[in-house]
């Protein structure tokens, strides 16, 4: 994940700047944040007119997630890289903490426990097939996330935060995602074990206990393998970030009826742009399935993934501007820009083949008790390992 704005945050110089300069900086922040804030309000108004409180709530939750991810620098790609390069398992342990917290709501919801709790919605978790396409897609995604320096959520919030790298990675992610949508119907014929819910035939408390134990075991192992000299300072921020993000994920599930997902929104944006460029997108099998076909016909603000992605972009951008970190890092060099393009493309194709990214497949999958989430984790970690071997070719140095 790109670290946006490290260069200017909280320096001694900042704190001791003369009143005039400080006022000038404050005015700059207000002038930059105001158009974005007004854009946010305008979009919220448009969303509210059509889809009411439910739409506005999801847009707001997307924005808050953008702010939370940026504020806590909650990165999957960088955390996994840290584990693979240095053996410090703390960030990955935090990811499993997030998964476990989400699970507390996702598995009961899948059994109908929270039906009608909010907006008369029957909320369900994500159980996707354990398929060959998932194995290939997650592996490609893992390579891509190390080359682009960000995963599904990471690309989005660092783009919002003003990363030059993501200015390249995101369009290629969108393109790859569209290409992936053309491949998926064929890829699903490569073999599948169907949906596998771990302890899915049991009562929800038993299924929750079994799955929590699994997550606790794996997350605990990564925690045990942490860098003990640095862990104390980092752990607090990671725990607070995990709890906050988990709470937002619960709300997304209960309001939208399904777990938060990032990459379908990218696929939809690609399809919309391609359609506008006279590409016959709707002729492809993927876009003739009921859900995608409906999404293609409707507004990008009427699809929950796309709507929340747009909220996340704006939320991260507003947070970065207020925090005076917006676009404060220098441009990466051309080789790293090329890596971002290739990484974005691989993640796009991979996410479609693998039924989602680190959010829609790893987080939502494991938290819903689905075996596909675990397989995604293993394959994306192996892909990350390969990605790390390739990174030096693009001039990356070890973190």
């Amino acid at each position: 994940m790109d670290k946006v704005g490290v260069a200017t945050r909280g320096t001694h110089q900042n704190r001791t700047a003369p009143t005039g300069a400080a006022q000038h900086q404050r005015a700059g922040v207000v002038l930059s944040a105001l158009p974005l804030g007004l854009t946010w309000l305008g979009l919220a108004g448009l969303v509210g007119i059509d889809t009411g409180v439910k739409g506005i709530s999801l847009f707001l939750l997307g924005s808050l997630l953008g702010g939370a991810f940026l504020g806590f620098q909650y990165g999957f790609a960088s955390g996994w890289r840290r584990w693979l390069e240095t053996g410090d398992g703390l960030p990955v342990a935090a990811h499993f903490l997030l998964v476990g917290l989400c699970m507390l709501v996702f598995i009961p919801a899948t059994h109908g426990i929270f039906d009608g709790a909010l907006f008369d919605v029957a909320a369900r978790g994500t159980i996707a097939p354990v398929a060959t396409s998932l194995v290939i897609g997650a592996f490609l995604f893992g390579i891509g996330m190390q080359l682009a320096n960000g995963c599904g959520s990471g690309v989005l919030f660092t783009f919002g935060g003003g990363s030059g790298r993501m200015l390249v990675a995101l369009p290629f992610f969108v393109l790859g995602s569209l290409l992936g949508s053309f491949l998926v119907p064929t890829a699903l014929g490569w073999g599948s074990f169907g949906k596998v819910a771990i302890a899915g035939d049991t009562s929800w408390p038993f299924q929750l206990a079994i799955n929590l134990a699994l997550v606790g075991l794996v997350g605990g192992w990564f925690f045990w393998r942490r860098d003990k000299q640095q862990a104390t300072n980092k752990w607090r921020g990671l725990v607070i970030g995990s709890v906050l993000i988990a709470a937002l994920c619960w709300l997304v599930l209960l309001i939208s009826g399904h777990p938060w997902g990032v990459t379908f929104g990218f696929t939809l944006w690609g399809a919309k742009i391609a359609t506008a460029l006279s590409v016959p997108v709707s002729d492809f099998a993927f876009w003739q399935w009921a859900g995608p076909a409906q999404a293609l016909q409707q507004s990008v603000l009427a699809n929950s993934s796309s709507l929340m992605d747009i909220g996340m972009l704006l939320g991260a951008a507003i947070t970065a501007i207020i925090g005076k970190t917006y676009a404060s890092a220098a441009w990466p060099n051309q080789r790293q820009m090329l890596a971002a393009a290739i990484g974005g493309l691989l993640m796009g194709v991979g996410a479609r083949l693998a039924f989602g990214c680190n959010i829609g497949a790893f987080l939502a999958g494991i938290a819903s008790g689905s075996a596909h989430g675990w397989l995604w984790f293993v394959m994306a970690m192996l892909g990350s390992l390969v990605g790390l071997k390739i990174r030096p070719l693009f001039g990356f140095q070890r973190d």
Binding site: S256, G291, S299, A302
Partner: protein
């Protein structure tokens, strides 16, 4: 610029301009698409479809055991 003003890395002002322009262009596309699309009363996802067996909306006939 005073001596106490925080020094920006090279090219960040240019990056900021490019970024804000990209964000503005993207938001214009979003609003344009919304205004030219048929109105709908619900925020949906492909997985909401009863025949879907994957988050992307893939039908169960394609995703079952093979």
């Amino acid at each position: 610029m005073t001596a106490n003003t925080v020094k920006q890395p090279t090219g960040t002002r240019f990056l900021r301009g490019i970024h804000l322009a990209a964000l503005a262009g993207f938001m214009a596309l979003v609003i344009g698409d919304h205004l030219t699309s048929p109105p709908t009363a619900n925020v949906a996802a492909p997985a909401d479809d009863k025949a879907a067996c994957a988050p992307c909306g893939a039908p169960c006939t394609l995703t079952e055991k093979k």
